[in-house]
Amino acid sequence: MLNLFLCVLQRDLLLAMRRRSDVFVSLSFFIMVVMLFPLGVGPEPEQLKNIAAGILWVAALLSSTLALNRIFAADYADGTLEQMMLAPEPISIMVLAKVLAHWLVTGLPLVLLSPLLALQFGLPGEAIGVLFFSLLVGTPVLSLIGAIGAALTLGLRGGGVLVSILVLPLTIPVLIFGAGAVSASVSGMEVAGHLQLLGGLLAGSLALTPWVIGAGLRISVE
């Protein structure tokens, strides 16, 4: 099972590396969205510091949702997905590897870049650390929940907007606790509670969503 996991992971990462521009597109989208806010709401440092957590988290949420349909779409289009599902190995392992690969390609770069963007918003050092950590724990949850929507909307017209409508309501708790942790840190309050809840969400979705995603794929592919 571990073999299957590593094999799918390696394959997906290799495919992503062959098409590097996709990675940069979603990363650029993240930066662009974040950049629009100071221009839109005005560059007062105090105000920016207060809304930085929300902006960075919402931007991360949007760019990860936007990249969702790439998890399964290409494999679905050329029939690879069907072959993978015919294999005797459990589908949830395959799904988990694909989601992890997707997160490594679209989620992790965004997490790594976030401290830099947080500096532009004048967040204090400690809050930047909290932001980094909350995104590190939170973005995998976004990918896992998002993959449910991606599986259900495979091959549908207008899938991109539809997947956002399906997934965004379910990701609201992640946003609340993730951005809440950073805001709490900015205003000097305890952040552990928020981060623990975020960790709980990660553990829960890691355990449950692969089965749900697998069921979704079965519905879409059959």
Binding site: I148, L152, T153, L156, R157, G158, G159, L162, I165, L166, L168, P169, L170, I172, V212, A215, G216, I219, S220, E222
Partner: protein, 245 residues
């Protein structure tokens, strides 16, 4: 006489049954609504703290209850349809969704009307209001996903999966006033202890709740009949039904 519980699982026999039930249900709903309106808006005394503004609860609370109950019912039917491949269950789920969304919207709307005079604001981002808003989006997501898939069986199953995932939100709404210390007050009514409200107010609210139930059944039956006719249009009985009309 032996009851055949599965008789009405067949769309054809349920079509006949629901056709007979709609009219009485609508009459019951109308009668209870008039009665509840009389009790709630004329008979019940003005509240000592909130004045007459509190009277919105006769619409707000039943609508909020219905919004949650109908989501669970929808997810339950959808799940049944997915698990056992029973056509009617999935049709019920799609018939429930619009009415449930309507009640969710009604609960939010009446809540805003109540919030303005009592809290001084139309909307606050507190846990209960936010989770109720998420419920509305879950209903919309269910309907949007169902509508986006052309093949009915796949649409049923995909929407069922989504509805079942969304069920986690219902307990969050219900317990939000206990888990978070927010502006929306806790419940005045519980199953385990005496309600902390005057009897006549409680009676008015319960009558309204039954009126909403009756209306919900009637509306869902009406919609499910349309869905049955549409989905079963290639069957013999639907063709003869149309010829008789």
């Amino acid at each position: 006489m032996k009851l055949n519980w599965f008789k009405y699982a067949a769309p054809q026999s349920f079509f006949v049954l629901s056709g007979k039930l709609i009219k009485p249900l609508m009459l019951i709903a109308a009668a209870l609504f008039v009665l509840g309106f009389y009790v709630g808006y004329i008979k019940a005394p003005t509240d000592f703290q909130q004045g007459d503004a509190y009277r919105i609860i006769y619409l707000h609370v039943p609508a909020a209850w219905m919004s949650m109950v109908m989501y669970v019912a929808m997810a339950g039917w959808a799940g049944l349809g997915w698990a056992f491949n029973t056509r009617l269950s999935s049709m019920m789920a799609s018939a429930i969704a619009p009415t449930g969304a309507m009640f969710t919207f009604l609960a939010l709307w009446t809540g805003a009307l109540w919030g303005k005079p009592t809290w001084g604001t139309w909307w606050v981002w507190d846990a209960r209001l936010t989770s109720e808003l998420i419920l509305l989006f879950l209903y919309i997501g269910f309907m949007a996903l169902h509508a986006a898939i052309d093949e009915p069986r796949r649409a049923d199953k995909a929407a069922a999966l989504l509805a079942l995932v969304g069920v986690v939100n219902v307990p969050v709404i219900y317990f939000s006033v206990q888990w978070w210390n927010t502006l929306h007050q806790g419940s005045s009514i519980s199953m385990t202890s005496a309600p902390t409200m005057v009897k006549i107010m409680l009676i008015g609210m319960l009558i309204m709740t039954f009126a909403f139930w009756a209306y919900a059944f009637a509306a869902v039956f009406m919609r499910v009949r349309c869905i049955i006719l549409e989905r079963e249009k290639n069957t013999e009985w639907v063709k003869t039904y149309w010829e008789q009309q």
